[in-house]
Structures are given as C-alpha cells and as structure tokens.
C-alpha cells in the first residue's frame, strides 16, 4: 500500500505515476482495502468484528488499512469510551460512493471467472505440451 500520496496533479496522463486515477488504484489494489470497505458496508463496524469477518487479515494490516482509509476521508473513526473500549468505523459519504464502482468490478469478476479459469487451463496445457 502506498502510504503517502504526492501532491495532486490534476488529470495527468494515465501513464504518469502522478495520475490521480493511478494513485487511487494503488489503494484499491492493495490486498485489504476493498475487503474492508465491503465489510463496512455489510454491517460490521467494530474493530474486532472486522478482524473476525475478514478472513486472513492481521490486526496490523487491519489497523494500517483503516488508518489509510481514515486519512483519505473514506472512513470515520469513532471512539466509544468505556471498559472495554469500543471503536466504531463507518464509511463516509465519499467512502460509500466508492461501493458502486467496486460492485461493478465485482460483478465483472463473477461474470468472467468461468472464461478466465478455462483460459488458464488451456494456457497451462499448452505450456506443458511444449516442454
């Protein structure tokens, strides 16, 4: 995950490293951000709940991902004092608006898993024949 974005350079070429879309994709790209956003819009909101819900994530990664999302203004962090302490995470309006494009991508995935898997098997079969 890229932890520090550079200054905004409005609409640079998509092939430039400082292109805004590319900077955002770097976020989406990391292993956990999308899962956390999904879990948040799915009802979970407490730290331990997210930790349990997202299979395979470590506390370190969950913390790191949530911090970045919070810094980006996509997630709001609310501390509920008491013993034991409770921390709630919720999507901001911006974070919520990200759900739609993500859903589109997820739908594309589900729609194409089949052909992708088939293509892979065909490719691998070819590979083995050659050797």
């Amino acid at each position: 995950m890229v932890t520090h974005l550079t200054r905004p350079v409005l609409h640079g070429s998509p092939y430039r490293a400082d292109c805004p879309a590319r900077r955002v994709l770097d976020r989406i790209g990391d292993r956990w951000t999308v899962l956390v956003v999904a879990a948040l819009s799915d009802g979970s909101s407490r730290f331990s709940g997210l930790n349990r819900r997202i299979e395979g994530i470590s506390k370190k990664m969950l913390t790191q991902t949530l911090r970045t999302l919070e810094r980006d203004g996509l997630v709001r962090r609310t501390v509920c004092p008491g013993v034991p302490i409770r921390v709630e995470y919720t999507l901001t309006e911006a974070g919520d608006s990200l759900r739609e494009p993500l859903r589109a991508l997820q739908e594309w995935s589900n729609a194409h898993v089949g052909v992708i898997s088939a293509a892979q098997e065909a490719y691998d079969r070819q590979e083995r024949e050659i050797r």
Copy 2:
C-alpha cells in the same frame, strides 16, 4: 501479482481468500495490469510501444504482466515474423469488457481526488498538532 490462481470456487464469501472477485481484484490491484489494459485500448499494441508508453515499467514487468493477462484470456499475443521480429498484443473480448468497470473506477478517482487530498491534508495537520 498473484501468478497462480487456485481452482474456481463459485461465489464463495467475499471475505474468503478463494472468492472469485477477490482473485480478480488481486490482478487489478497489481501496479501494472490496469495501465497495460488502458494502453492496449488506447491504440498501442507492440511490445516496445507499450514499454515506451507506460512510464516507469520495466521490460521484465511488462512481459510478466502481459503473460498473466494472456494466460487469463484477456489479451491475445500475435507474433509477426520478420526481421526485426514484431509482436502485437490486443485485448480479447473479455479483456475489452473489463474496460467499462475500470473506466467507472477511474471516473470515481478523478471525481474524488479533491476531497481525498483535502482529507489527507486535514488529517496530517491534526497529526502534527498532537505531536
């Protein structure tokens, strides 16, 4: 980049590691896949053309990314014999269909760069105040 996908498990929980959408997102996530798809739908198709067009990519990474896309059936590789040799890459139909959800994501990015940058600056200001 994940170079080897496991067997298809139809529509597992999004929080399971073997969820199809998650496997696809692992691809989208890597640093170059999206850029290569964009460059391919933008006209470039030869290896050296892509290499020049995508700023910062190395031949190694370009090759690796193209191989994976080819294995996934999203890109077709065509060798044009001759001296010097030429290799053309084109999006398959599946690869082409990926452009739309990616464009949606890019649009979201461009639409939210502003608020994200602002949120970051606010967050960082807070951080510095505390210390």
